[in-house]
Amino acid sequence: MAESCGNPSSEQDALMLRRSKFDKSNICIKCKVNPGNVVIRHAVIASAECFFPLVSSKFRRALVPAINPGPIPDTPRKKKGSLKAAGNLCIGFSGGLGSSVLLDLVTESYFPSENGNTKGGSDHPRHHEKVWDHGTVCYVEICSALPGTRDRTEEVRALVSEYRHFEFLPLRIEDAFDEAWWAKVGGRGLESNMTVDLADEDLILSQSTTSDNSVAALHSYISSLPTQTAVPSAIQTLIRLLLLHTARSTGSSHLLLGTSLTSLSVSLISSISQGGGFVVREEAQEEWQPTVESKRTVRVNRPLRDIGMKECAMWAWWKGVHIPGKENYLGGKQGIGALTKNFIVGLERDYPSTVSTIARTCGKLAPKDSSDSSCILCGRPAQPGKPDLASPPPHLQNMTPQIPPVAPASQSSLTPRLCYACHTTLTSRSSRGSTASGNHINSTPLPVWVVSELDGVGHRKMGEKEMKESISEYLLE
């Protein structure tokens, strides 16, 4: 019984009856014969007979339409035909529940069985030409960014070695500042060493004469961030870009992530809470193109997006999937991601349908404007229009540092190349002011892909002529 706002001793309806955990009976709603073992949302599903096919079919329904090149249809794929991806497969492996289950499901569904499993009928993709010629499992070790955490690379390597179809490709988060890694993934050579002044809300760029090693550069970057909430966002962006560049360099057409329905809802709300409404679609699925000139895209897919955390846990438990575990970098009480996760997981317990409602609602959204540029830091589409036009009215800008005035003409600024969410990450202050602690706050190193993009590109104040050009389509003379 839960207490509402009334006094239960004097008011009868002040006590609200707790809902039963499932709707009708405890018989599996799929086969309607066996007693159920698991409660999923409001319904009961039986064990192996019904659970495994259900999860497998949700997994394939989310993935199959995105396998063949070309636009992804809105409706489920009906036509029978060969499934053949345009490139290889890269799985982003975090060591957590979702990615462990994903690796198991992908192996089971799309790679020849290790024990001669012939189940699935003659049309099963397992029995045909391989959908992806080559598979890579990419793991980003983040212990360098989080003091006091341990390196799990060898544990993950041992786990991945059990899946013989996949090559293991370990990365470290400091690779984001490593020129050698950048060259290895085919990045353009870096001519200069650009840094940014995170103490200045204009985000003024400058050339640095010294060059740190990648771990020191990572530490400088993290410690210069203005809030504790910015750290998890920054780590997440670095991991994402490391995976994307690696996927491209391995010739992968698909990067699969083990984001479950629960995690997807967390990501969506977390992104919206950080001003990422313009890229809400990309949180679920995106086509990433490293540069405009490059025609090769990496399709980022989350095939577990219809499968809740609980179902993933049941899958791992019943199938004996080993989960190496991962570091929690979401930031405790200070992190937007951690707060969102607590909120969503709590809601899922009391209101089981909410999590899927969030994902479905966000699936019906699209950005208001089309975008022809992408953010230099996160690589996602940037909202068109100058940032100062997208920001709240001037009187609010002092209170919540959003988009600062453009830098003086003689100096270059990073601001015009950032999306709203990344700009907020680099400039938003906590109520106690900046919590940055690094010595390099005035010359904070930038990830290699940012430096590469900035190389040779001048940034200046927008002149009157250029301003006129940006509104030229509305001017009659």
Binding site: D13, T229, L268, L347, I358, T361, L365, Y420, Y474
Partner: protein
């Protein structure tokens, strides 16, 4: 080709195409429409007044700015009396004091007068669960009807940035696509509805409280006694946690809400706006939500307007009886409707 003349003044040469409307207009007219986007001199504006901090500050700021900048607005206070003993009756006393303090005409429209039901009576029939559904639907319509009675052009409400951010989150969590698409608009106006604005859209709740505190404004501060909306409560706590971690989170959520819209294919599946066959108010079905809820109350089946099962049960009982109490037919806003009794100061 001869130079085009301004679509608004038909005198000057058009200099630009207004991005918002596509109209070709001259520079002076552009300045004018830009500056008078929200209000124009002589507008009759109703301030939705509950006696709480937001609407009290709004009334004070509107009056102050109206006088300071000579906006020339005719301001009214419009209060809705939901009929909640021990809550609304107390807050209305505050509104009546505001009426005297700000020298503004006040109109109080009660649920009892409009629907024949007070919230006290509704709660005694439906219990505490879902009573907010009745109150929310009835209040929205009551505000429009009150404004129509006052013959005003525009309703302003005291929704602040925290409210808007909370509504964005709630609409996502409830899957309310239609509201999600419009909840961040500073100004909304349908074909048959009165223009509504939220001038405090970017004002943080804390700033509003601070403003009221330093200006020593007289406002009423109590939570509604019938609001056990645990679901919204969770969202509110979450938002406060976000704000504590990163103060810009509230404005960031609003920015997100402004940056997305409903996909075209989804828009096409949404119901077309029409008018309620029974009361003439805007509706997406034959009957508006308020009429459906009222019919359920009148026929002793309060769940009819809330659940599908309740609606089916109501339909299976046959058509509504002839003598069913209904909401008076809605008169679209016009200045001619203004001959009504206002509260005596």
């Amino acid at each position: 080709m001869p130079p085009r003349t301004c679509a608004l003044c038909s005198t000057n040469r058009a200099m630009l195409k207004r991005p918002k409307t596509g109209q070709q207009i001259c520079r002076e007219c552009f300045f004018y429409v830009f500056e008078t986007e929200l209000f124009k001199p002589g507008d009759r504006v109703a301030i939705g007044a509950s006696g709480g901090k937001d609407s009290t500050v709004l009334a004070y700021v509107m009056k102050t700015l109206n006088e300071r900048y000579n906006y020339g607005l005719e301001l009214f206070l419009l209060s809705i009396d939901e009929g909640i003993t021990g809550y609304r009756d107390d807050s209305l006393e505050t509104v009546k004091r505001n009426q005297q303090q700000y020298s503004m005409p006040l109109k109080i429209l009660s649920y009892d007068e409009l629907y024949g039901w007070t919230m006290d009576a509704i709660v005694s029939q439906v219990g505490r669960k879902n009573n907010c559904t009745f109150c929310g639907v009835f209040r929205r319509q009551a505000l429009d009807r009150g404004a129509s009675m006052l013959g005003v052009d525009h309703i302003v409400t005291g929704h602040n940035a925290d409210d808007i951010a909370e509504t964005v989150l709630m609409n996502i969590m409830r899957g309310d696509i239609a509201r999600l698409g419009r909840c961040t608009s500073i100004c909304t106006q349908g074909e048959d509805t009165i223009k509504r604005s939220k001038p405090f859209k970017y004002a943080y709740e804390k700033e509003i409280v601070m403003y009221a505190y330093f200006k020593k404004l007289d406002y009423f501060s109590t939570e509604c006694i019938y609001s056990p909306d645990a679901y919204r409560g969770h969202a509110r706590v979450f938002l406060k946690d976000l704000e504590a971690a990163r103060p810009s989170a509230i404005i960031d959520i609003i920015h997100s809400g402004e940056a997305f819209e409903i996909r075209e294919e989804v828009k096409a599946t949404q119901k077309v706006q029409q008018t309620c066959k029974r009361c003439g108010y805007m509706s997406s079905n034959d009957l508006c939500k308020a009429c459906t809820l009222l019919e359920g109350l009148e026929r002793g089946m309060a769940q009819a307007g809330i659940t599908d099962r309740g609606r089916k049960k109501l339909e299976s009982e046959g058509p509504a009886p002839e003598n069913l109490r209904t909401i008076p037919f809605y008169q679209p806003p016009s200045a001619g409707n203004a001959a009504i009794l206002l509260e005596a100061p």
